[in-house]
Symmetry: C2
Subunit: 223 residues, 2 copies
DNA sequence: GCAAATATAATAGTAATACTTTCAATTATG
DNA sequence: CATAATTGAAAGTATTACTATTATATTTGC
């Protein structure tokens, strides 16, 4: 346990910081379980309230809407990824190595090796894979974007893009490459499970990570 | 007008073929306009009925649900794309040329040069970009997939993957590459409009198509 | 040209959802 | 210990996604 480490999520995703109380933490932990199991559409605050033995109205005092809760969870995930990235790149000098390690982290299945989490990282990753795009694929995106609710994601993409520019400062598509890899690998994980004809799966190997690493290397003429 | 050409969409997306009546065609044409303008979430059959001067219940005789209508529209789009692909590849011999032409078609902004459409292709493409993933990012996907409602999309991905295998029969990720390019280019279009820090945009050039063509060429060591 | 089948309109209704409001009870804080 | 802040309980609202019913058109088969 490292109680002094805390993932900071953009404040406009929540009314009241869920870290500040037991109820808030329970809302977050239990909503991750429930969204993973029911899916975002079938999940609601009434069911969540019932599960944690609390009232619907109390949940609304932490999150103004179901979509803000989703934004909080995804923001938390990207913050957590950024922290993991920091650790994985510590003492790695070569920009090419740093990039490949980053791509690996961003495309791999997360393990539940969390040092301070009361919640399952694996579940949260499944939520990000299956649900996170619903947070920006709507007509409210511009409005919400003004309030910075996507900033955690953008910052992470920016950091990896910077490594690309270190390798080749003339490369024209650093952000496109990174967001293509992140979102692409999520989609491929979903396809592998549900629409396998859209991907190329293998029981024994993680071809998804292998594919994106190869793609990035070739895009940048590495190795 | 080529009245003898008709895009066939998987029959499990609709109860009654909307091509078979004037009302059916009006449902399709008007729903495209309205989903494009309101977004999938704010669109519903009551509003659609009002717009076309018809009753909600009548629409339900063509489509059993809002999500089936979305599946019909996207299925139609992929069928239409397959037809366009057929034309664009006619008389082109070289597999590499065929592939690049395919990638171009799949990543470009569609023009309204339709020869038989009563509806806007551009609008439909915007719907596919912003809404189509909602059709499979849910807990119902396996159920619906059983009934073949995604077959039009899979078939198209399969065809382009076959071109890749013609170029290099040992390439391990043909489907992954194609679905990454299609879905990736859609996402980048969305990001360019709403979350530009996640992409690399330029007012004057179509960098999205350029990026994916370069990506594919490098992935397969072309040119 | 007319009966029978089919398609559509009109209307009302249902269960669920995404919140909101109010007020009382509880708990934390200074 | 008093005051403020938090939570619970309960009821209520507007909307949505869809169903059911019945009446009226429209098409089709003969």
């Amino acid at each position: 346990m490292l109680p002094n480490i805390n993932i900071q999520v953009n404040a406009n995703t929540h009314i009241k910081d869920p870290n500040s109380s037991e109820l808030g933490q329970k809302i977050v932990a239990t909503s991750i379980e429930m969204i993973d199991e029911l899916g975002y559409e079938h999940f609601n605050f009434r069911k969540l309230g019932k599960q944690i033995g609390s009232s619907e109205a109390s949940i609304y005092r932490y999150f103004e809407s179901k979509s803000k809760l989703l934004l909080y969870l995804t923001g938390w995930y990207w913050g957590w990824m950024e922290y993991k990235l920091l650790i994985r790149l510590t003492n790695i000098e070569s920009p090419a190595d740093r990039l490949i390690r980053s791509i690996k982290l961003l495309t791999e299945i997360t393990e539940d090796d969390s040092i301070f989490l009361h919640v399952s990282e694996k579940r949260l990753q499944r939520i990000v894979i299956a649900e996170s795009s619903k947070a920006y694929l709507n007509k409210e995106v511009d409005n919400e974007n003004q309030f910075g609710v996507f900033s955690d994601y953008k910052r992470l993409v920016g950091k990896v893009s910077d490594i690309i520019l270190e390798i080749n400062k003339n490369y024209r598509y650093p952000h496109m490459l990174v967001s293509t890899v992140i979102e692409g690998s999520h989609l491929q994980r979903h396809f592998a499970k549900h629409l396998p004809r859209l991907t190329d799966v293998d029981q024994n190997e993680d071809l998804i990570t292998a594919f994106y690493i190869e793609l990035v290397k070739k895009a940048l003429n590495l190795k």
